[in-house]
Symmetry: C2
Subunit: 193 residues, 2 copies
DNA sequence: CGAGTTTTGAACTGACCGATACATAACACT
DNA sequence: AGTGTTATGTATCGGTCAGTTCAAAACTCG
């Protein structure tokens, strides 16, 4: 009933995500977003309303993808401790192969804090879901005997998420893969039986 | 032999530091810096050359002060484990009483990465010095028996710095004091005897 | 009291910011 | 073919960005 889009919305979100990821929110201009997505200004604003709304979309996209990937590892085979170790190994590998961009959520938290808008809500929801996922894995770890008994699963989840954030920052400052692996090993030592 | 300054350079750096700390590098305008310091544009540029140069000065100031404070705790009385615990407690307390601003260095790493200029060098030097300080404390901990034997002090230092960064990000996302204390306790469990 | 030197305030620079206006283009449906 | 609707490209909006210019001001020293 009207002129059709010349692009796919999801592909544009993906491209915008990489732009924000590389430069941060403030340093990414709408011009950068046009070039990254290949869209004209009109199309960007017609489709996504504003720079901030597009950023919120990219955050949601990043968060959903990241959670799915992490869930695939943490709900995979092996003991809980093995799955957590695999998660850390995957994180380190990703940082080494993807130019130490860190985590978009962590970078955004550090740059903007938790703003009182939909961006802040997306950040909060991401943490919530990460904690739920990690907490469930911790609970399973107590049952399968791979994690130390008597540990509060919620506290373990917070510890793991904190370690993940720490590793992301570490990668950002250019630490070596060995150093990051050593940190992951020590973190595991704190919670394994 | 000329007109004297109407302000103290160190006080201006201190004020600028708080401005950058609250808003991040990109989001802080030169106008913000004028208002924060109380200086006019001419004075700012006459004294500090550029926004980036002033930022580098604030980073150096922040880093030096932070290291001095941390050194005071880590070279204080008690076992190494006790001193590390005190460091964590101080960090959590600072975050709770100072509005969860996080750490200027961590926030900058997340926002800018390690740029190829004096800002990047300042960030690298800060990490270096933090690791040296934490590593020395870890070494002492093996000797006084409060830290587990057989741990590489350098790895322990990386783990502690990573945990510190993790806690800073955690605070930034609004986590409770109890949650942060729980994370610190688990981190200690990984390295204490 | 000048001469020399630096600081300061106000006005200004060109570039870029996020966002919009609007005419034209490209389609679906009748 | 004609009409309604949405997408797109171009030009542009007022505002703000980091940084500069320059004359007046405030000092030290002779």
């Amino acid at each position: 009933m009207a002129r059709p889009r010349e692009f796919e919305e999801s592909a544009a979100v993906e491209s915008a995500m990489h732009a924000f990821w590389e430069r941060g929110y403030e340093a990414t201009s709408t011009q950068d977003l046009c070039e990254a997505t290949g869209l004209g200004r009109s199309s960007v604003y017609n489709t996504f309303t504003s720079k901030r709304a597009l950023f919120r979309r990219t955050l949601a996209h990043y968060s959903a993808r990241g959670l799915a990937g992490r869930r695939a590892v943490l709900e995979g085979p092996g003991t809980a401790a093995e799955r957590i170790a695999a998660m850390f190994a995957g994180l380190v590998d990703e940082e080494l192969t993807h130019d130490r961009r860190g985590c978009l959520v962590v970078n955004t938290l550090a740059e903007l804090g938790v703003p009182e808008d939909e961006v802040g809500e997306a950040l909060r929801r991401d943490a919530e879901q990460q904690l739920a996922l990690l907490g469930e894995c911790a609970r399973e770890g107590v049952l399968d005997g791979s994690l130390r008994d008597g540990r509060d699963p919620a506290a373990v989840a917070e510890f793991l998420l904190s370690t993940i954030s720490g590793l992301r920052v570490m990668s950002r400052r250019g630490a070596s893969g060995e150093a990051m692996h050593a940190v992951a090993d020590l973190a595991l030592a704190a919670i394994t039986a």
